[in-house]
């Protein structure tokens, strides 16, 4: 039945009437920084998405439809994000936005996506905004553990295991550092003796590290990006400052940072991974440092087949893991997916999605927050060794508990494509 003006009636029309969906394709898109300062690293995420979708398409697609993934470059500039999102939604007519990256960038378009009723799935950022307020952003879903949750788990762990440590915070001066700090302070408020912030783009962190050193800090909690992990390590060497380091998941990609540090100085740092030995961090999906993990094996196969010449990195693993979740959601939306349909499907069954994530998603009708927890681990020889079981919690004063859903033990299906019944 057709509504006024010949527009398809929401929710009821046949698949052909849904924006972005045809008999044999479904078009989705996202904004990523492919150029500019934020491009290193982040620009690899969409290639992970693409590789996995290609893999799915090569295996017949979902409900007979191939997934087309359109990536648009916003150079990490919100005004550009707004432009390319207009283009994705109004001109490319995507069915859903999947994996749009960045807090300031995505903030610029989240209201637009919701007012246009475009599913805004799995934002690539751990800000609380993506899922804590379902009422005002009914179409937006987070994916990775939010920074506050991560901060809480880190805070509690430190409070329990290093109760005497003088703690210093090293924070990126945006919501990442802010949310992280909020979480950490729930448990560590009186242990924190110094808080230093850096602005991304400013590569001189010596003044901040010197201040931490001056405050006699012996544990630094870093909510920073990988390049700043490298910078802090180097600067600390220069200042002969040797505390224990605890980097949040974002900054600790041991593969990347290790290879960065490996060659920093002939003689000074022979092996970067060993420089990182003893560094604490968190994990919520398996990464390339565990090549025997069945998920990583799957990603490696997918990447070898559809990725190209470059090597598999954790950014690409992140992209593929996200893509896997989207395919699950699409399966759940049934053979005739609609925009409302997929949102409903995630709300209904998202909490049960099996996948690489170590902890389950928090998706319900009331919360669109992503992965609910992670585990604390320590880097040894460039690998992460778990120190705790997977811990889960939620924003606010939800207590931290051990995860007993078994999400961490999920194994990928035989064909590497999630089953429809999920």
């Amino acid at each position: 039945a057709c509504g006024a003006g010949g527009r398809p009636d929401d929710g009821e029309g046949s698949a052909a009437d849904v924006v972005g969906v045809t008999e044999d394709t479904i078009t989705i898109g996202a904004h990523f920084p492919l150029t500019g300062v934020a491009a290193p690293g982040y620009s690899e995420i969409p290639s992970g998405h693409k590789a996995y979708y290609d893999y799915v398409n090569a295996n017949g697609g979902i409900h007979g439809r191939k997934i087309e993934f359109i990536v648009r470059d916003d150079a990490y500039d919100p005004t550009k994000t707004s432009q390319v999102t207009d283009e994705l939604v109004l001109s490319d007519e995507i069915f859903a936005m999947v994996g749009g990256l960045g807090t300031p960038t995505h903030s610029a378009v989240v209201d637009f996506l919701n007012s246009e009723k475009v599913p805004d799935l799995f934002v690539s950022s751990g800000s609380l905004q993506w899922g804590d307020d379902v009422e005002s952003k009914p179409y937006t879903f987070g994916w990775q553990p939010d920074y506050e949750t991560e901060g809480k788990i880190i805070g509690q762990w430190v409070a329990q295991h290093m109760p005497d440590a003088r703690v210093g915070l090293f924070l990126q001066d945006d919501d990442f550092g802010e949310d992280g700090e909020k979480g950490v302070r729930q448990y560590l408020d009186d242990q924190i003796v110094a808080t230093e912030r850096y602005s991304s783009g400013n590569t001189d962190v010596a003044p901040q590290i010197a201040a931490l050193q001056a405050a006699d800090v012996d544990l630094v909690l870093g909510f920073n990006t990988p390049s700043y992990t490298a910078l802090t390590q180097l600067t600390a060497k220069k200042l002969n400052f040797d505390p224990t380091w605890f980097y949040s998941n974002v900054g600790s990609d041991p593969e990347l940072v290790g290879s960065l540090l490996a060659r920093f100085s002939e003689g000074a740092v022979k092996d970067g991974s060993s420089l990182l030995d003893g560094v604490l961090t968190t994990e919520y999906i398996p990464g390339v440092d565990t090549p025997d993990n069945p998920w990583v094996e799957l990603w490696q196969d997918v990447w070898d087949e559809h990725g190209g010449d470059a090597e598999l990195t954790n950014y690409r693993v992140y992209g593929m893991s996200q893509a896997y979740t989207f395919v699950q959601a699409l399966q759940a939306a049934g053979p005739n997916p609609t925009r409302e349909g997929i949102v409903e499907a995630i709300e209904q069954s998202g909490a049960e999605f099996e996948g690489p994530a170590l902890a389950p998603f928090r998706y319900t009708a009331d919360s669109h927050m992503g992965i609910s927890g992670l585990r604390v681990s320590e880097l040894k020889d460039g690998k992460a060794e778990a120190l705790t079981p997977v811990l889960v919690t939620d924003i606010g004063d939800t207590p931290i508990t051990e995860d007993n859903s078994g999400a961490g033990n999920d194994r990928p299906p035989e064909d590497g494509i999630p089953d429809p019944k999920n």
Binding site: T35, P40, D173, A206, P207, S227, K238, V269
Partner: protein, 292 residues
């Protein structure tokens, strides 16, 4: 005390890096009256050349030399091909041209070398010195940077003050027609100026890259502060460039350490404005020109 010392020493090394960049700007300004906004990406691409060589297993110093040489060459080529046609045009055209070049080289580097972080080695140690209880926040490489910059400054002062080539380069920059009438090979001077400046730029690129992460945009943050340092010192003066760099480096280090790194750029603006309000031509400018 320790923090103060560390912050100051860090400002010193940082300032020397600004100074290196500013010196290249001064050199090009003196020899062509153009501010080369493309200097950062030009340097960046030569540093990538060094990286390729070092990655292939050759020594750091071979890469170092290759970067300087390719800088020399790149500067000459850029001047010949791109800058030459706009030399006699309004000044803003050269500005825009170098901005265009900036974008082009950037994009090329991203396509050729990939837009990911790579680490660049440093030839000397990256651990700070220790003096009893005190940590001296200077590394072997830091000392090398300081010496290199001072040497370049000295050479430039000598070049401009005492040699005929320096004189001819300046004459060509100010008045091509008169210089040519006096037998100066103006085109060669301009090319030479760009080549030398690009080489100094490469040096600054190498100094920044040493023991750091490189990616196509790794030099961009220096563009602003390097330029501000050059302007602060008075674009015409190599000594001014170094002094400007030091003032900026040290004060920004303190601002960043004691106030917050968000206001670093604001502090640079304030310092620049205060200096320019007192001396509109920078610290080392000559007396204001006779106007009538």
């Amino acid at each position: 005390m320790q923090q103060f010392l560390t912050t100051a020493l860090n400002g010193l090394t940082q300032g020397m890096i600004f100074a290196a960049f500013a010196l290249a700007l001064v050199l090009i300004w003196r020899s062509t009256r153009i501010v080369n906004f493309a200097q950062a990406p030009m340097a960046m691409i030569t540093v990538y050349i060094a990286l390729v060589i070092i990655d292939a297993g050759y020594s750091y110093w071979l890469g170092f030399a290759a970067a300087l040489l390719s800088g020399l060459l790149l500067g000459a080529v850029v001047e010949r091909v791109a800058v030459r046609p706009v030399e006699d045009k309004p000044h803003i055209n050269a500005v825009i041209l170098t901005l265009g070049l900036f974008i082009v080289i950037h994009a090329l580097a991203a396509v050729i070398f990939g837009s990911r972080y790579r680490s660049f080695p440093a030839p000397f140690g990256l651990s700070g010195f220790q003096l009893g209880d005190m940590n001296i926040a200077l590394t072997g490489f830091g000392v090398f940077s300081i010496l290199a910059v001072l040497a370049v400054m000295l050479l430039l002062v000598l070049l401009f003050r005492f040699t005929n080539v320096g004189l001819m380069m300046r004459a060509s920059a100010f008045n091509q027609e008169v210089a040519r009438l006096l037998g100066v090979r103006v085109t060669r001077m301009l090319t030479q100026g760009w080549a030398l400046a690009a080489m100094v730029g490469s040096l600054s690129g190498l100094l920044i890259a040493g023991g750091n992460l490189v990616h196509p945009a790794y030099m961009d943050s220096v563009v602003v502060f390097g330029f501000v340092a050059a302007v602060l010192g008075g674009l015409d003066s190599p000594i001014g460039a170094v002094v400007g760099g030091l003032i900026l480096g040290i004060s920004l280090s303190f601002v960043s350490g004691y106030i917050g790194s968000e206001v670093v750029a604001l502090a640079a603006l304030v310092i620049l404005m205060v200096v320019l309000l007192v001396r509109p031509g920078g610290l080392f400018s000559h007396a204001p020109a006779r106007r009538v």
